[in-house]
Amino acid sequence: MRRFALTLGIAIGLGQPLMATAAEHENPIWNERTAAIGAVSSTPSGTLSRSELEQLTKTGEALFSAKFTTLDGAGRPRATQAIIPTKPRHAARLSFARTSGPDANACSSCHNDPVIGGAGDFATTTFVAEGFTLPDFDSTDPQFSNERGTNHLMGAGLIELLAREMTSDLHDQRRRAIEKARNTDAAVTIALETKGVSFGSLTARPDGLADLSKLEGVDADLVIRPFGQKGVIGSLRQFTINAMNAHHGMQASERFGRRWTASADFDEDGYEDELGVGDVSALVAWQATLPAPVQDFDGNEEWQTLAQKGRAVFNDLGCASCHIPALPLSSLEFADPGPLDAAGTLARGQVQDAAVYDLSLLDWARRLPRNEQGDVLVPLFGDLKRHTMTDAANERLGNELLAQRFVDRTSFATAELWGIGSTAPYGHRNDITTLDEMIRAHAGDARRSRDAYAAATDNDRRALIAFLRSLRIGGR
């Protein structure tokens, strides 16, 4: 049984050639609206079959690739890029602006290297600003915004699933510590650790308070937010809604609609309810099912041999302490909305049943290795944790002026290295052209590994880079 409804027009686009003539009347080829908008006319729920999931993700891909037009509601003349619906004091001077946005026509305008959903080079950097006090800026001066390169989204569903499980672990540890402190009437200090990653410690008090001053690399609410260079976005759904408004002026009703703003056309562009729940769900489903990057040598045995040595160097230099090669994931069932989404993003408490996308239905996911416990080993080369990336000797990665959502300007989430061989240039600003430069730019918490790399032999460095360049984005 279908767990969501597709409207006729998009069903045609998805290869169901029924009543094509009628559909063409609805959506002729010359129509300048995006046909995929509104195609998912109900909120997906329950566990989708493979064919249902394919239908949904095809709609998601169409939305991700669509160059939104003013007939769709693109543009936000009376709304800023802010994640909270915010009116500017003055209407923006330009309908598009590469600085304060809207700065792109389609998601795929930037996320396209080497495939749709991939990364983008320096030409696609975006300028991240809160959008509250100075929403309309026409300068790249870092006093107004943080310049950010476009990350790839491959394997993003696995990343979010890992973050959910890690958050659940941390919350369980906190709950048990509080409970023990209450029961024993004594303070209890615990090490916070999940999937082998340490997040510092927490002291629970008998009165239910928690001393969080010793946390490391995670927010005070112990929620792992895996997305964004700073690790400040908790889910693909939240990210999608943020980005749709900021980059395209396409506003999702679940945040900008009447329920929260009393207006169906918050940005006052003449188009109401520009993106419905089903549209966002389709986008999430597509991103969540993007295949994980792989290791690939193009059949080049010399490369493979060198990369194998490089993998050992990677470990020897300590790179793997943060860029952990793989983290275990117990479930491949991706629920949308997720357990940590809150108001402003469709949340679990706002639907009767979440949709469940079983990633194990997908061929690429079935090929992922598993450990003895049956956990999927997600080869992300990351730890979903924030680290300080600068020190007094090297501030190259600390070249920003603005903190982002409570995160200090020198602190960044560990970049997952999977796919790095396909996504040059590097760094959070995409302004570093080689991996060698990128490694040498590390500092702060990565100082020891960075120095070890600098002191390594040329052959070891070459092997390491050969290894990194073998972490590539492949097909589905």
């Binding site: 802010a82 909270i84 009165d207 308070l209 928690a210 609410d221 329920r259 009393a262 679990r348 706002q350």
Partner: protein
């Protein structure tokens, strides 16, 4: 004559009541007056796009069986105190009973679970637990255990909290003279550098005066601490105009709280609403007409204050019979001139008659409280309603109001949709998150019928209830005296929205609360919080994540998080 706003389009109904009934019934008391009935406010019929909370009455299931009742003296009063009496940070309840005994209910609810209370003996005995009209929590002796002030017909009592929800009468040890009046209102503030709070007691009719009850209002009293321990010095606030609620308030954002009193014109003669200027070390004095104070006479029952327009100076909702007032400083006002104008009609909160049923007679309003019950970052206004007893010219079926903030336009009545339109005579109330689920619940003490306890289930959906906006709960811990930081202002910033909450003891109708301060955040997932402590000092910025209980200790750099059971 009740004051009218120039744009209220008020209709005057001349009501002349028969005066033949015995004096033991308020319905018999003389009321020959003009009552203004406003036409339907502009927003009353407006569509309400935001969430309406589903409030389900379940007092009995929660183990909270209580009735406030009694003869004429208990037609007013019916208060509740909400506070933590056993150190678990969950709000417990002490309910006035009038002729019935006051009762203590210990909160046994689990986070997100069903509301559950357990009755526990107050330990006062029959004589002292009866004749209670109101209750306000306060930590008078600064020992981090909350005490309670009981307003009574006769001697008022300070119950010193001993922990584990046990109390002892402490009038003598605290040097407090409980008097012998008919007390109906309370407020407290720590004046400059004071180690103990100044207490204001609102009194109603002096029944011993010749000609009582008309024109025989009892003076209110101000109890100022003498020294750091010792006694309280009592000052009569003369004239008294039969007050039913009073509140210390920093009306001009000067850092100095004055005392606002609402008075019942039913019994005073030539009286009016009052604002007493309070200066440490000086006797209080009334603001005069020459200073901008505009005389206003209403059947004042309750006061609620909140800064609705973000100018740092609170607006005041004043409940009455007929129109509720909503006052804001007029253009002619300045920091020395408390000149107010009424915006109740403009904002849609006149709430002058029942919104449900066929009875179009005027309403009778009692407790008023601003709070965000749907977590949409817009304050809502709750008003307890109920006929005094059987006054024939006022609505008999008079449901409580839930006037929900609708953004810039004002408020929209959603009481019926929320489920609170019961046929009970509301008096005092508490809006509090009793089960630590992030949604404010509602307790209403009713005269002559069971106390109502509404659990907030979220917004109704086809399949059940759905979650509403994000929220934050904030507890302040001050250093030194005034540990609960009474008088502090909490500024919560999300995006460009600034919300303010005031930590206060007083106002409402005979009801008060102490504990976490609840803030709805709408779609914001984090907030920046600054505190202006009672001594005027501003804190640094605390960065906190939504949907959490946070504790801001003045001595700590970061906010702490609290986790309920």
């Amino acid at each position: 004559m009740m004051s009218s706003s120039s744009n209220s389009l008020a209709l005057k109904l001349a009501l002349t009541l028969a005066l033949a009934l015995p004096v033991t019934s308020v319905s018999t008391l003389a009321m020959a007056t003009g009552i203004e009935i406003a036409k339907a406010p502009p927003s009353a019929e407006a569509e309400f796009p935001f969430d309406t909370p589903s409030l389900t009455e379940q007092a009995s299931e929660a183990g909270l069986d209580h009735v406030y009742d009694g003869p004429w003296e208990y037609f007013v009063g019916g208060g509740a105190a909400s506070f933590d009496c056993n150190g678990d940070r969950m709000p417990d309840l002490l309910l006035a009973g009038g002729a019935n005994p006051a009762q203590l209910f210990v909160n046994r609810s689990l986070a997100g679970g069903a509301l559950e209370f357990q009755s526990q003996d107050l330990g006062l005995g029959q004589n002292r637990s009866t004749k209670v009209l109101g209750a306000y929590p306060i930590d008078i002796d600064n020992d981090a255990v909350t005490d309670v002030v009981l307003l009574r017909l006769g001697e008022n009592l300070i119950l010193k909290g001993l922990g584990d929800c046990e109390f002892a009468v402490a009038n003598r040890s605290l040097g407090f003279d409980g008097g012998r009046a008919w007390s109906t209102g309370f407020s407290a503030i720590w004046e400059k550098d004071a180690k103990r709070p100044t207490l204001a007691i609102g009194n109603y009719v002096d029944q011993t005066a010749p000609g009582s009850p008309w024109g025989t209002c009892e003076d209110n009293t101000l109890h100022r601490p003498v020294g750091t321990e010792g006694t309280y010095e009592v000052t009569a606030l003369t004239p008294g105009h039969c007050s039913l609620s009073l509140a210390f308030t920093d009306w001009n954002n000067s850092g100095q709280a004055d005392l606002r009193i609402t008075n019942d014109r039913q019994y005073h003669r030539g009286g009016q609403e009052q604002l007493w200027q309070m200066r440490s070390g000086s006797p209080p004095r009334l603001y005069r007409t020459a200073e901008g104070w505009k005389p206003l006479t209403i059947w004042g029952m309750g006061i609620a204050q909140a800064d609705l327009n973000g100018d740092g100076m609170p607006e005041y909702a004043l409940t009455s019979m007929g129109d509720t007032k909503l006052q804001t400083l007029a253009e002619e006002a300045d920091e020395t001139r408390p000149h107010y104008r009424d915006i109740a009609f403009d904002k849609g909160v006149t709430a002058h008659r029942p919104y449900k049923g066929a009875d179009l007679k005027p309403s009778t309003g009692w407790h008023a409280q601003f709070a965000d019950l749907n977590n949409d970052a817009h304050l809502d206004l709750f008003i307890a309603k109920g006929n005094v007893e059987a006054m024939p010219d006022f609505a008999a079926f008079d449901p409580d109001n839930l006037l929900m903030g609708n953004g810039a336009d004002g408020f929209t009545e959603r009481g019926a949709e929320a489920g609170i339109a019961l046929d009970r005579k509301g008096r005092g109330a508490v809006i509090e998150d009793f089960n630590a689920d992030g949604m404010l619940d509602l307790l209403v003490v009713n005269r002559g019928s069971p106390t109502s306890l509404f659990r907030n289930r979220g917004a109704r959906a086809d399949w059940g209830h759905r979650s509403m906006g994000n929220w934050l709960a904030i507890e302040l811990q001050n250093t030194g005296a005034n540990r609960n930081a009474v008088g502090a202002k909490i500024h919560i910033k999300t995006g460009n929205l600034n919300q303010t909450r005031i930590v206060q003891i007083g106002g409402g109708h005979a009801s008060g609360q102490l504990g976490f301060v609840h803030v709805g955040l709408g779609v914001a997932e984090r907030a920046r919080v600054r505190v202006q402590w009672p001594d005027g000092e501003w804190s640094h910025e605390y960065r906190v994540f939504a949907n959490n209980f946070t504790v801001i200790d003045r001595a700590e750099d970061s906010a702490q998080y609290w986790y309920p059971r």
